[in-house]
């Protein structure tokens, strides 16, 4: 008898990284459906471009790094990055920006640091920040108003650059609109805009709720704990409550939470384990920090939505948070001490 001797445990849950990633992709489906329904199905085309770029670029880099390509492609992490990136960018963004963004995410955000598991920053957010700095006009103006009536074919032509953007098709996001108008108009006047449905951000609210459904599914599946998402929402809400009590002078709470990328950020971005904090307390602090920074940048900075910058800034702080949120080991009277 030739016996196999492998170290214990001999029993594993064997989830596999790709199963985790697959669950994340599945949880994004409701959000994508909502985006297609309320804005434009062109998101599907963008996703197609983004995902195929992701697979190709990932395979190429893995080959250059002399890693087993099939083994690492199977973990689906590149697809998750690409999908998150595409759904955070405006729908009418030219196709080559999508390609560029996804390539930057994988190359600059991930593989230059050593690939999956070693990137200190969220790759999708690195690329998003890079794009918004490099191409500020398309990245902020190519949003669609909800139910704009733009059909897939014309949207495709715009994305492929075959026709110029017709007037009146693109629009600001509700957050952007509110921020730019709030000094001049009262809240009631702002809500008159077609971007709003009552006091709710038309279209965006459904997208946010769809992301929330996906996020709760992941929470139920225990893909991540509630700490980071709650941290973000609490951080954002606390500041919005303190400074935004008067809707005539500042963006109110419900818009902060539902009109922008707060929900997708809370459930799909700050929950990225690689670049976030590790312990439960650390995760909460990380999320809280992102929420606060997002509010600060949204309100006093020059960008209408700021989850990407907030996440990147907190990524810097993650090792520091980890260091100071270590648990107390069984049998020790104090928390972990010292560096190493």
């Amino acid at each position: 008898m030739n016996l196999i001797t492998l170290s214990s445990p001999h029993h594993t849950q064997s989830t596999g990284v790709n199963k985790v990633m697959l669950q994340v992709l599945m949880a994004l489906v409701p959000g994508i459906v909502a985006l297609c329904l309320f804005f434009s199905p062109i998101y599907l085309f963008n996703l197609l471009i983004g995902c195929s770029t992701a697979l190709a670029v990932e395979a190429l880099i893995l080959r250059l790094r002399r890693c087993p390509v099939a083994f690492h492609l199977r973990d689906l992490s590149a697809l998750v990055t690409a999908v998150l990136l595409v759904i955070s960018m405006p729908p009418l963004i030219p196709w080559w920006i999508t390609v560029l963004a996804v390539s930057c995410a994988l190359l600059l955000g991930k593989h230059l640091y050593g690939g999956l598991g070693f990137n200190p920053f969220n790759p999708a957010m690195v690329a998003f920040a890079l794009m918004i700095v490099s191409f500020p006009v398309p990245m902020t103006t190519l949003w669609l108003a909800p139910n704009s009536g733009l059909d897939f074919a014309s949207a495709l032509q715009i994305v492929l650059g075959q026709t110029l953007l017709p007037d009146g098709i693109s629009s600001a996001t509700p957050l952007d609109y509110y921020k730019t108008q709030v000094g001049r108009l009262t809240a009631t006047e702002i809500y008159q805009s077609e971007l709003f449905f009552g006091i709710w951000p038309a279209g965006w609210i459904w997208v946010s709720l769809a992301y929330l459904v996906g996020g709760l599914f992941l929470l139920y599946k225990k893909v991540f704990s509630w700490h980071a998402p709650l941290g973000l929402l609490v951080g954002l809400a606390v500041l919005a409550l303190i400074f935004g009590l008067d809707p005539d002078s500042n963006t109110p709470l419900h818009l902060h939470l539902l009109a922008g990328s707060a929900i997708v950020g809370a459930f799909f971005i700050v929950t990225d384990p690689v670049s976030g904090a590790t312990s439960r307390l650390g995760k909460f602090i990380f999320g809280f920090g992102v929420g606060c920074l997002a509010y600060v940048i949204r309100t006093w900075g020059s960008y209408p939505d700021a989850i990407a910058f907030a996440v990147l800034l907190m990524n810097f702080a993650a090792p520091f948070i980890d260091h100071y949120s270590k648990p107390r080991t069984y049998g020790h009277s104090t928390r972990h001490q010292g560096y190493k």
Partner: protein
């Protein structure tokens, strides 16, 4: 218990972390404890416990009786070994032991004579009348070790000096698949409690806490029933939710008492001692029936076996024979213990030992081999399940880069290797193996350090001894030279050859002085020292010049050497001049 006594405190504290793997206990706990015929030979390794190996007392060819002492404990932490049946000692040689390394270890091999004849026995049904010393002596002669898996000699555990107030009895059996303790509790509850009473008397405890996971209702009922007839300090059965690894000693103490064993210390430091239920039953057998530890209950399970079941096996039964009896001739894996912490056996020829609570033979479908590891994605699942609140991924990173200092700083030695982290790891990283590697490397490093420390001391002592020897030799040589010089000076004064006039004159004087006065400084010797120092300095300078041309990077060493010689010369000259002055005055 009278009607007015307060209800026993059954409060439990929830386990920190932990996982809930599929229990798979029903396969083996349906049948009662079974028995097998005598094997053709028994292999008894002399070290089946933690501590020093036992010393064989028999020789090849000796006839032994069942229960006869064949190897005695040596040292404070060690355990005796007994013949599991009567027969002949056919060999004492290294044999494979149940271990992942596949290494051999010294074993006594007995061929049974099928008589199964007991040695003389002296049952103590009224053990209460015996003194603690008598009881302890019998315990330490009976070779009982902790049967839960670690194999710590029980007598050593029970004879500690600290004041113990609580005896914790571990009936948790949190490992999936294993049902040995479950069956013992169901079938031998009274025996367990008698053993508990004996240990309670030895330790003079105030209370006994019996912890059982709630997935063993029959065992709990049997223990409750037996508790009616139990006589001893207050005993409470505490049940708690099934969660792995509740049965770890430190974890159980937390669950039952809400106290933590300080890092690097023993439960005894909290005034507690923790024993397994199987150990308690063995203690009763040893004291009451004079029945040393020669057999144990082992769960044989896994889908490779047609009928998983618990068996009472003789210690030393060869596993390959055992499996053949159950119709198994081929297996991919044999795991001693459960699926979470069990030791994978490298050699099926190894025997059943005292710590073997389970033999698990899983099929590939049942417990698939882990896929190759993917990179850590820092998901933190491991942090959440660690019962010791360690940071498994930090430990992993440190172990992977062999950062031993970092490992120690992350409290690697508080890891109980329960495997919960590796169980939940989505990347299938063999985390526990990394920790074992890290622990092994740290221990090796410490041993190396201790050895080099010893070597240093020995080297320095030797250098000192050699220096002393040569100093003595030098002193003798000097004494001889002095005597010779005196004799010469007496013969022909003033006829010394010298280098310059001053020295000549001084020497003449000194020779005269030496001739006239027996004492006074030895100018002759001092002068030759000056000469020698001069020569040496010259040589050193030559070497330095050469070195500066040829190996400038090493010149520093030569320069220091040169400086030293210059210093010596200056000293020698000063000495000589001083001596001259003295002789002049």
């Amino acid at each position: 218990m009278n009607a007015f006594s307060p209800a026993p405190n059954t409060q439990v504290w929830p386990l920190i972390g932990g996982v809930e793997p599929k229990e798979n206990k029903q396969q083996s706990n349906g049948l009662s404890i079974g028995y097998l015929p005598l094997p053709p030979f028994l292999v008894l390794p002399v070290n089946q416990h933690i501590g020093v190996a036992a010393e064989p007392l028999v020789a090849v060819g000796d006839q032994v009786l069942k229960g006869q002492l064949i190897a005695s404990s040596s040292g404070k932490i060690s355990a005796c070994l007994h013949a599991p049946t009567s027969g002949k000692v056919v060999a004492i040689e290294p044999r494979p032991v149940p271990h992942a390394s596949g290494l051999d270890s010294l074993a006594i091999i007995i061929e049974p004579d099928q008589q199964d004849q007991w040695r003389e026995q002296e049952p103590w049904p009224n053990w209460q009348q015996r003194s603690s010393e008598e009881l302890l002596a019998r315990l330490s002669e009976s070779g009982i070790v902790g049967l839960g898996g670690a194999g710590f000699p029980t007598a050593s555990k029970l004879s500690i000096d600290q004041q113990i107030h609580t005896l914790v009895v571990n009936g948790t059996e949190c490992e999936p698949y294993i049902t040995a303790d479950d069956l013992i509790m169901r079938e031998r509850a009274a025996q367990i409690l008698a053993g508990v009473a004996i240990m309670a008397k030895l330790l003079q405890v105030k209370q006994v806490l019996i912890g059982i996971e709630d997935n063993k209702p029959e065992a709990i009922a049997a223990m409750r029933a037996a508790l009616e007839h139990y006589q001893g300090p207050e005993a409470v059965i505490k049940t708690f939710p099934t969660k792995y690894p509740s049965g770890g000693e430190k974890q159980l103490i937390w669950i039952l008492t809400g106290q933590e064993v300080p890092s690097g210390r023993l439960p005894a430091d909290l005034g507690m001692v923790c024993v397994n239920v199987g150990t308690a039953a063995a203690v009763q057998q040893c004291i009451v029936d004079d029945h040393p530890l020669i057999s144990r209950i082992t769960t044989l399970t896994g889908q490779v076996l047609a009928q998983p079941r618990n068996y009472e096996l003789l210690i030393g039964t060869p596993i390959v024979w055992l499996l053949a009896q159950l119709g198994v001739t081929q297996a991919e894996r044999i795991i001693m213990g459960g699926p979470m912490m069990g030791e994978p056996l490298a050699n099926p020829q190894s025997p059943v030992v005292k710590t073997c609570n389970c033999l698990l033979l899983p099929t590939q479908q049942e417990l698939p081999l882990p896929p190759s590891a993917s990179p850590c994605i820092r998901c933190g699942f491991c942090d959440d399940v660690c019962p010791a609140s360690l940071l498994p991924q930090q430990l992993y990173y440190h172990a992977r880069s062999r950062n031993l200092e970092g490992l120690a700083q992350q409290h690697l030695f508080d890891c109980i290797e329960c495997g919960a982290c590796a169980y939940v790891c989505p990347s299938s990283i063999p985390l526990v193996q990394y920790y074992r590697y890290g622990k092994g490397e740290i221990r090796q490093e410490q041993q190396q350090q201790a050895k080099s420390e010893r070597a240093k001391v020995r080297f320095e002592n030797r250098q000192a001894r050699l220096a002393q020897e040569s100093a003595e030799k030098e002193a003798k040589r000097k004494a001889r030279a002095e005597a010779a010089a005196k004799a010469q000076a007496a013969k022909a004064a003033g006829d010394n050859s010298a280098i310059d006039q001053v020295i000549k004159a001084a020497q003449a004087k000194s020779a005269a002085a030496a001739a006239t006065k027996a004492e006074g400084p030895d100018l002759e010797a001092l002068k030759s020292a000056v000469e020698q120092a001069k020569n040496k300095l010259m040589m050193a300078e030559e070497r330095l010049a050469k070195a500066e041309q040829e190996m400038p990077e090493n010149a520093a060493a030569f320069r220091t050497a040169r400086d030293k010689f210059a210093e010596k010369l200056a000293k020698a000259e000063a000495n000589w001049q001083k001596a001259q002055q003295e002789t002049k005055t």
